[in-house]
Amino acid sequence: MASASDSSPPVAPVGEPRDRVDGRAKVTGRVVYAAEAPVRNAVHAVLVSSTIARGEITAMDAASVERSPGVLAVLTPKNMPKLEYVDAKFHAEKRLPLGDLRIYYAGQHIAVVVADTLERALYASTLLRVSYREEPPVLGLGDPAAKIEWPKGEMTGPLQFEKGDVDAALSGTGVVTVKQTYSTPIETHNPMEMSATVAYWENGKLTVWDSTQAVVNRQKALAAVFGLKPDQVRVLCPFVGGAFGCKGDQWPHTFLAAAAAQAVGKPVKLMLTRQQMFTGCGHRPVTEQTITLGADGQGRLVALRHESKSDDSEVGKHIEPCGAGSSAIMYATPNLAYTHRVSRTNIASATFMRAPGENPGTYALESAMDELAIALKMDPVELRLVNYADRAPHNGLPFSTSNVKECYRLGAEKFGWSRRNPEPGSMRAPDGARVGWGMATATYPAHRFPNQARIRLMLDRDGGVRAIGAAATQDLGTGAYTVFTQMTAMLVGLPFERVKFELGDSNLPPGGVSGGSATTAGVGQAMSEAAGKLRQAMLKRAQENSGSPLAGLTPDQVVFQGGRIVAANDPSRGVELSAVLKGGPAYIEGLNEANPAGADNLPAKQKAYTFQSFGAHFVEVAVDERLPIVRVKRVVSVMDVGRVINPKTAGSQVQGAVIMGMGQALLEETHYDPRTGRVVNDNLADYVVCVNPDVRSIETYFVGEPDLLFNAIGCRGVGEIGITGIAAAIANAVYHATGRRVRDLPITAEKLMRPA
């Protein structure tokens, strides 16, 4: 795999390509994940799941479970302590677990068995006798029994939108139209680390080790549900073994672990099985999207309509904002409409999965754009350039920065796009396989959640200065530890080696969810503000010495530089940090103020600008003539995500997202039995994701400029954009190779074999 992220001009100012600070500890097995929490005498909880998809529990006989050796407690809807459903915004579902006897989906938790060992808990859990009154489950978007909703949209912006007159524009003379329906199946996150919770109570206080994307949200939700004050709950999560969205919201198992710990008066460990990961912490819902494009003779879009359907359980809260995440943003058009519809089904609750909305939305829109390019006999890159938007079509606000044209240019150059013969089926590999080249645009919004952070400066035993940055944020395996160590070093002017960063503990300065690619930008802004406070504190202390070279300067007039605090306009005027710290308190600290808007008042800027990242993927596939199994041979991905702190970890994020997108395009689908609604392929042998031999050359490049309107660091986040557009680029390449347009993912052999 080649990565050239640090070598190719023109690029945004990037930081150093650092190795992960936790890399060695990870590969030597020395980091502690939630299930490995250093908690003594933990007992084990096992979840019992519903085997039916819809109905009601009519009887539960737990007598033999309770008598089974080692069993300490059995929680069922009958004896589950009454919890309060409050602070709804943090919950993944609209109900609390074991709160009633209703069954909404197969795999729903119906009991918790706690025993002294995992084996005894597992065995005892098989003894629970459950009777159900079964009802026929509602399965699939096409099920006529499904309840239909047309959500308005709160967090996502309007979900039912029309600007101009799409129908009138489409019927205009000389308008070339494309109208097609694209569908994506349910996909399951499947991080390596299964969700796990270790919970214990001490003197009325609850401590929880949880594999989570949001320690502070977990703390707030647990406190609310158990009737505690937030400071009576501590949530720890120093490391996460992958999440992709399935650890973002509060799922029921965390409550159950805490309730079980309360019931038995001992620490309780609860880990979802791989099977339970398919039903207990969400998935990307099924989508069906109809795109209608109309273009004039020059390829300019005169109208765009994007109708999107997705599903969720009756107790789920997720809407997949396909159109709002793609058509609302990507191309200039005077007439734009998009709608979103949710069907209530008896499939486990859905949730965010890497680029929710943007991912399936770009698959549909970018496939349709390819079909339009073919209808117009235009080059796909040219069609996108013609429709370049300098402002978001849905709100008319200019992008703070947009370098998508440069993404196209550099991507095409690195890929060799100019050598493409547009005729489908015209290109061959040396072994005779059909070769296809496809491309698509990537896009993802810039999000930032309110955060606090602190930086402490202190004297080390060796007399040197050390900095420790800290925030209650999370490292999902993305490299956040490393990036924030670099950022701290940059902000205080110390070498990387003299800096540490702490995260994953709700006792640290509070922050938001590590989701929406928001962590680097949100924590980065907080860190920048904290550095300002630190400058203030250090200057104040420095000025206490009579004759300080910094006398008379204000905090705005000094900077940290090379281990010193110096006058910004005259770096020779300053003092060593060690001199300032000497003889003082154990450390001097900067902590930014709690301010939801940030010191830079982001909400005000969001009234004037759209903050959005763009990129482009170029893909080569090979398809054997006789056995139409698609292999991705190479990918070139160019992204503009603002400032890149660490091109190595950022490049890894794009590569990882591309690989995940390859899986989505060609392999991944969660299958359900059409009668029972139970997951059929709930393991990693049957839910097929990419493995190493599937991954050939993936080159990643970054272009653009720091987005200083968005935050003081200038970064926009990089976790999700790589998985937008990639499935379309692959589908477009498959069309180019074979002349076959597959409009339902994944593109498996049978779909390329079925009659045209």
């Binding site: 493995v691 599937d694 052999a749």
Partner: protein, 328 residues
């Protein structure tokens, strides 16, 4: 997971003796299949008799040529054995196309012969399954059956036999050596597996307690011209959608003799007699290869989601035949 006892047997006869006793016994070798089934609740043996210490882990040359492969020779050791690589390349290729290095290090030769289906309705421990619970029905028939069998099926079971190794072994005329309380016997591998027939739970001719001690491969010179080809969704670590093992005796431009077996499409490792008969005596042309594949697949029965496997298998077999014929 239920409690079970564990016995480490030191001699084959000791293992046979240990078989009789209270509670359901099971032989344990690599455990890559059995332990899964215990965890999933598909199988609940009460006594595990570990057969890894019986001294059956050697590959020996037979006096008249050929190889004797001990029952507990690991898949890895077998795949990288120099004699196998040279004389039976199809076997090495088949093994290395399956599972992962870690699984191949643990899995054994006899264990692989007894590998059970990946049918998710069998493995969920819950759905109607004639293989798991006689007479309960077959959930796969009306369920999601994309990976299920198209050959050798019945209205009682359409579960696919998942092995790669066994498909190659069948083409190599392997003979299974068995040992029971009443002595030793040998069974050609192609007769070792039974058609599902009345009772899909009955997969082979093993008698209760009978132990596989070795697999013999005959010395057949032209088996050196053999090849395994496997089609699957991803490039590695996946069971076959379709696979083909082929050995060709090519002389003077004619297929004098051949062995063909198919994997991933049948309820047992599928010796393709009809294809062999169609190919014998013909010139190795694309037309002949297609005719051979057609002869075998004319009896294939598609279900709701696996019809494509017939066409995929046709392509897989033709690809395997072409490549084998082109071998130097």
């Amino acid at each position: 997971m239920n409690n079970f006892s564990y016995i480490l047997a030191a001699q084959p006869d000791e293992a046979l003796r240990d078989w009789t006793g209270p509670g359901r016994p099971a032989y344990l070798a690599g455990g890559t299949n059995l332990i899964d089934h215990i965890k999933l609740g598909v199988d609940q043996p009460q006594r595990l008799i570990d057969v890894r210490n019986l001294g059956l882990d050697q590959i020996e040359a037979l006096p008249g040529g050929g190889l004797r492969i001990g029952a507990t020779v690991s898949n890895t050791a077998l795949a990288y054995d120099e004699r196998v690589l040279k004389d039976y390349p199809v076997l090495s290729q088949a093994i290395l196309s399956g599972a992962s290095p870690q699984l191949r290090n643990a899995a054994t030769t006899a264990g692989n012969l007894l590998q059970r289906t990946r049918c998710s309705y069998f493995r969920d421990g819950l759905s109607p399954c004639n293989k798991r619970q006689t007479g309960s029905g077959c959930a796969a028939l009306g369920g999601f059956n994309r990976t299920h069998a198209v050959l050798g099926t019945s209205e009682r079971c359409i579960a696919t036999h998942p092995s790669d190794m066994d498909v190659a072994m069948i083409t190599l005329d392997a003979v299974v050596r068995l040992r029971g309380v009443s002595g030793e016997r040998t069974v050609p591998l192609q007769d070792f597996y039974v058609a599902y027939g009345e009772d899909p739970a009955k997969e082979n001719v093993l008698k209760p307690g009978e132990l596989i001690t070795a697999v013999d491969l005959p010395a057949t010179e032209w088996f050196a011209r053999s090849y395994y080809f496997k089609a699957r969704d991803r490039a590695s670590y996946e069971f076959a959608l379709a696979s083909a093992a082929v050995a060709l005796d090519l002389r003077e431009g004619l297929v004098r003799d051949c062995r063909i077996a198919l994997g991933g499409v049948a309820t047992k490792p599928w010796r393709a007699h009809a294809a062999e008969n169609a190919l014998k005596g013909t010139r190795p042309t694309e037309q002949a290869f297609r005719a051979a594949a057609n002869a075998e697949l004319s009896s294939a029965v598609p279900r709701a989601h696996n019809g494509f496997k017939i066409e995929l298998c046709r392509g897989t077999l033709m690809q395997a035949l072409q490549t084998t014929a082109a071998l130097a």
